[in-house]
Amino acid sequence: MPPARAALAGLVALAVLAPARAAEPVSQFTLANGMQVVVIPDHRAPVVTQMIWYKVGAMDDPPGHSGLAHFFEHMMFRGTRAEPDGAFSRILARNGGEDNAFTTEDYTAFYEQIARDRLKLAMQLEADRMAHLDLSDPGVRTERDVVLEERRMRIDNNPQALANEQAAAALYLSHPYGRPVIGWPEEVHRLDRAEAQAFYDHHYAPNNAILVVVGDVTPGEVKADAAASLGEVPARSLEPRVVYAEPARLGETRLAIVRPDARVANFSRFYRVQSYARARPGEAEALDVLAALLGGDSNARLYRKLVVEQNLATDAGAAYDGDARDSGEFSVYAVPRPGVSLQAVERAVDAVIAEFAATPVSAEDLAHVKTQMIATTVYRRDNQLSLATAYGQALVIGRSVADVQDWPRRIEAVTAQAVRAAAANALDRKEAVTLYLSPSPT
């Protein structure tokens, strides 16, 4: 196809230029109480995004109390002595602000988006709840019911989510990544004030948090305002995080879940692999490139083969999640067409993976996928929340601002041989759980 070839010439140049263009100006400093701060100015609109990232997540839930970190995220909105009864969100809304939060295995993040002249207010509110959360409120138990409803909505009502939860539990022999972030229902029922208070005391402190501000501000103003609010919260001694053993798996786990409410069958496989936090240089980047080549979109090999050429599936893809303190995860999936078995799509997926493991990818395919990946770092600059998330999510697992800025260059450096090695070695079936979800026995 001549048009595609014509486009290619421009791409090579782009791939070289993009890293330099994508680097946004970042200021970084630490407050006297140990809180890390990252500031990225963006003066297009008179608004600002503030995120606070706590280095505590579901993996820090004590035994028997899964879901505590997430439940606690909800608690942070209940109130303080100064601002009781859910005032946090009301005050922000009254000032034109929006706010929310999320919890993962590794961290808990809170954010506010608001007019630039209200950033100080958002900082004061965050400082207040970091230091003075009031958990004596009877609303604590009401909030537990809310969390159980959230679990019903996200997990219990959704057969694929339930199946994925079981696959994750099977993937980790001992590490708490095997527990759902939202918690097992029996254990969520047990969460109460005492657990929440202990969690707060042990983990919610400025020396365990990162402030990221993106928007219509200067680093100087952020420094002054943060020092006068968040910087006033005293540092605390932190409970050391537990280091869990991660024994090598000796064999693949296969899980077949049959539920009539799963109207459409689904094959997926989850591999335990290296994360960005722990991988040798270039190793995680190769997994990222492999995931994009294998299953990033409808141009990737899995979709091309299974959906377009072989007519076996209606969808197929792959993903790499390397933003983790401990193991990363690589996953592949395919949705068989009516009449096609899960075994058949699994064989087809494995044939595609075997191709990658045997033969280095072409220079052209590699250049194309890198262009797409690097373009996303330009698009990320368009959105304050995406940009703040990119930095917060890296720093909170112990990576650096330089790591984030340097990522396009490191993606550019991934060789065809490294991608082949990732497919051959990192996608180790002994480190995998294969999941069949189907409406009736296969």
Partner: protein, 442 residues
Amino acid sequence: MRILAAIVVFLFCAAPAFASAPKALDIGPGEQVWFEEDHTVPMVAVTVALPAGSVYDPANKAGLAAFAAYMFNEGAGEYSSVAYQAAVANLGMQLSMSPDRDYLVLSFTTLSSHAKEAFRLFALALQKPHFDADAVARVRAQMLQSLQQDAQEPATIALNRFYQAFFGDHPYAHPVNGDAAGLNAISAADLKAFAATHWVRNGAKLTVSGDIDTAMLTALLKSTFDPLPATAPPPPPPVTHTGPPGLIVVAMDVPQPTAIFGLPGMLRSDKDYLAGYVANHIVGGGDFSSRLTHEVREKRGLTYGVSQVFGDFRLAGYVIGQVATRRDSMSRSLEVIRNVLAEYAAHGPTEAELRDAKTYLTGSYPLAFSSNVGVAAQLNAFQRAGLDIDYVTSRNSRINALTLADVRRAAARIFDPKREIVVVAGTLPSPAPQKSRKPTKA
């Protein structure tokens, strides 16, 4: 801590001056173009709405508009489906198709260095789409399977059933993605004919934001849209009435049923539309401070989320609320909602609630304009609503000008309890609640 004294000072002053000032470009008599130029990030975001929504589906071919929409990137001009998608991806371009009831909304982002080629590919799909047999078969299979997937989701089931009850025999009644019978009846010739009559310049809404200058953009838009037909599709029938009120239960065995509740709203051209919008925001809008969230979630822990949308299709306004809760709490949740809405309909908001709503709605408005993607999307939504370009800058003063009497009048007009339709998807433990009364919102 001394910072606390400052927090109690609520800031009621007006939001800072708002920076967005798009300009209108003239590229021809049929299309409306708004453009916001900004060179901060080297990218361009484009949103295009065409009069090609599901309201134009023939009665026996529900899903035709959406089917055509999903064929947009399945081959055009000299490109096969595979070649087209590869060309788009290799450029680092991101393209999406979102059919709704009135419009086909197409969006793309491109690096500014590749804008010319991105527009060329986009234009090709608009002007010379293929509808090749293999791609038609593949997309049909994907849409059919997605309908099956929907059949396990109570929220989707309830919403589809609501529209059916609300719009009766009007083409708004069927789901945008159609039904199995309709999708199976659609041929490649139908798709081609639909594109020829509905992917037209007459009535097209175009919005662009980002790193490009007026001269270049004008040239690119002209070459994209000039070759399209200048005809307009036949107008859809008016909405003359809505369905009878009452309770509909769709039995399904899920841990958490979903209820959809709603009633007629206002057309966007209604002089009380904004008053209705604000009235709805106070009682059920999306943020954490609405009356419904306070009563159902915060006080009683009955749900993770309850909200009510004040929406408008081109030919009908509506109010639609949603709540999900465990089986044995649904009756109680619906009762609480009924009481909140009945009380609100009778008395309307308080002065303080109106003031808070105004500061939130006007203060958060600039957040929608903080990215190129956001600007293009927001401006396009205004165009689809039939608003003039000066609305972008006058919107906040229009909201601030609303009086308590305006909002109460709108609420009283809209929230007639006798008109409400409630659909519950899920199986309840005891007899379902009797006919529900009313939601209010304006």
